[in-house]
Symmetry: C2
Subunit: 429 residues, 2 copies
């Protein structure tokens, strides 16, 4: 007999868990209509029972293992985050023939392929739309509506905290420290902001999206990563003068030799759609061989948007329970392309340095760069100190090879006329 | 026994049909990997066998009925367009237990609810992602990832031809006639552009999206419709001065009293995301009660983007054939809200008129408007003819009721000081 109700075990009752709870309560009618019968949370597992809660709930327990072993439960929603104990709990749930929905980007980035395999082996659904881009439909459109395309390139603003900080720096001419502090006060950044500002969060998300897009496991450790801590108000100033905005992007591209996935700050021409995505918003631009460019954007985090994606997954799981067809979004395994190191990248660069303000300096630097195949496309200069004869030069280069560019930089660092290489940032063109 | 191959009958071999054919050929490997076994076009039905074709195909026939009756065929892809004979062919296909994928917006807008019901009754898939927004994932994200939300408002640039024309008028300061003629020369507009420029195409698409978003049939005739033919270079000029761009949008909103769906030109503040979607691109902004604003954008038409959506649907149908679960996206029937007439709209307006250039005229017009609850928020004036003492006035109003605004306009038309009501356009704020 088909079940007349879906019983959900919720692991985690923090920001996202409360959002899921609220949405299942407030929108119960439409969720029931979409699935074909009701879905209800029967048990909630938390770490600390004594913590004050926004909502009273009779089925609260700190014995999370008992939930994933509860034979009455059909679906586990995991919103604890982190690898352990989430991984063991989900594995047990799958072994116990429960469908799983998770918002856990770190877990899916690190162990998603193995978990998907296990779910498919049991003909179970394992959905994780909420793990990337909060409320934006991203993972499932890549698996379904866009799946016929060969993905050529994908680039996205995947972290709302850093996008907020960079937006504030640009609009209010703030330093990074000040913007970060304000983001923390507003609750947009954690007390320990490492995961956001060092790019780990975006690295997890890019690994997940790339794995789906290229139908092969993209190990998170092979996604190149740089954070935003080195970005200064000066860089944002010069970027603006040159017609660019600075964003931190996750970018993945397929080349004949392999796949290159990377997270780092980028100068984006102001007319690019992603250059106009501000504050905590996320957006991903997907280039497919047939579809061309598609851009999906919205709120990338927060209780309600994340709940929206979790509940979308729950509706799919519910329909599959009612009509059959669970486990139908297993990860296809294509012939694996090698992952390319960052040194293989071909891109343009922004380069800012302090130099002796004297004749022939510019020529000697340009000559040195040219020896490594780096040619210049634009330049800005200003005198920093008349007394000490120090000038600041900003270059934009034509597209060149990253390995060669890095060699050129290390050579320039030991040139007597170069006082300091202040920063260099890749340019998307 | 599970089928080892999906046999597709393709109805129509024009622009979209050729795109589908090419994509199934070029991306056969990845389509096979995603479905789990190969999909192949076994027969193609066309109206005129003698027409020269880009691709030779042995299974070409002008007996379309024989394709939907062919017991060897599992899936019908219909890309003929128009209601007849597409409707009868699809009904026969469903009666013959074939899954159906269509890109036919007119058919789905007018008869989609009945066809979905028939498909669900036979546990068959009926997919139409390509009917709205070309390659942009829209229909399925509304049915799945966003389905847990109550949709509060949805607005979109749904027609690439008119967006191209309005973009050209704004950027090149062209008249509508010139921009339309250029669009026709470039193949962006049909020889008979009625369906695009009068808003029928957008009306179909908005009816489809609204039906999905509100889980109730939104009859296409109850979607208010105005085209772009009345938009002049003067309107675009004044809109720019006032900080706006003119776009033609499909907008649907849920109010406590009912649903209001409408297609018409709109002044959009320049900072709005949709105001920055140009040329032939489409974009839809969906506001859900939990997800907030999500924007999905991309190429809204063309052979390859449309094929991308058709093949995405085919991959879903194929997975369902392999694993079960077909027919799981039936249209839920919610308690129907009434459809509201345009007179119930509350919005702001742009109003341009020619008046006697004499003292007190402005005051008398403002007073007259005020009698109908229409108050002003901004004004621009210029003298058109010093000799005849004719001035041109442009007003922006605060939000007011459309029924009252229309009454005010008809009263103004008979005021002696008003020479001509040149145009009025709704303003999104």
């Amino acid at each position: 007999m088909k079940p007349q109700m879906i019983r959900v075990g919720l692991l985690g009752f923090g920001t996202v868990g409360v959002g899921v709870f609220r949405m299942m309560r407030d929108n119960a009618d439409s969720i029931t209509r979409h699935i074909g019968f009701p879905a209800t949370i029967t048990r909630i597992g938390v770490h600390d029972l004594s913590k004050p809660r926004e909502f009273a709930f009779a089925g609260l327990t700190d014995d999370l293992q008992s939930i994933v072993n509860d034979p009455e439960i059909d679906v586990i929603i995991e919103v604890i985050g982190g690898v352990s104990p989430a991984r063991e709990l989900i594995e047990t749930a799958l072994n116990n023939k429960k469908h799983v929905i998770t918002a856990n980007k770190e877990l899916i980035a690190k162990h998603g392929a193995a978990l998907m395999k296990k779910a498919a082996g049991h003909s179970l659904d394992l959905h994780f739309e909420a793990a990337v881009g909060g409320g934006i439909p991203l993972v499932q459109p890549l698996k379904h509506q866009l799946a016929g395309n060969d993905v050529l390139k994908m680039m996205g603003i995947l972290n709302g905290t850093t996008n907020y900080i960079l937006t504030q720096m640009a609009e209010k001419k703030q330093s990074l420290d000040v913007a970060l502090k304000e983001a923390q006060e507003l609750g947009y950044a954690e007390a320990d902001p490492t995961s956001d500002v060092e790019g780990f969060d975006a690295q997890y998300k890019l690994a997940i999206l790339s794995t789906i897009a290229f139908s092969q496991e993209i190990p998170v450790d092979e996604v190149y990563r740089e954070g935003i801590m080195k970005i200064t108000a000066d860089d944002i100033h010069f970027a603006r003068i040159l017609g660019y905005r600075i964003k931190i992007l996750g970018i993945v591209e397929a080349f004949p030799e392999g796949i290159l996935a990377r997270v780092h700050p980028v100068l984006l021409p102001r007319r690019f759609p992603l250059a106009n995505v501000h504050d905590v918003y996320n957006a991903v631009q997907i280039r497919g061989d047939f579809v061309g460019d598609v851009i999906l954007s919205g709120r990338g985090a927060g209780s309600a948007p994340t709940a929206s994606s979790v509940i979308g997954d729950l509706i799919d799981v519910g329909r599959n329970i009612r009509l059959g067809g669970a486990g139908n979004v297993t990860m296809p395994e294509s012939d694996g392309l090698p992952l390319l190191p960052i040194e293989k990248l071909e891109t343009a660069y922004y380069l800012r340095m302090l130099v002796d303000d004297q004749p022939k300096v510019l020529g000697s630097i340009a000559t040195r760069l040219g020896e490594y195949g780096v040619s210049l496309s634009a330049m800005e200069m200003r005198v920093v100190s008349e007394k000490d004869k120090i000038g600041e030069i900003v270059f934009l280069t034509h597209i060149c090879n990253e390995g060669m560019f890095r060699k050129a930089i290390s050579v320039l660092e030991s040139e007597p006329v170069v006082k300091e290489i202040c920063s260099w940032i890749r340019v998307e063109s």
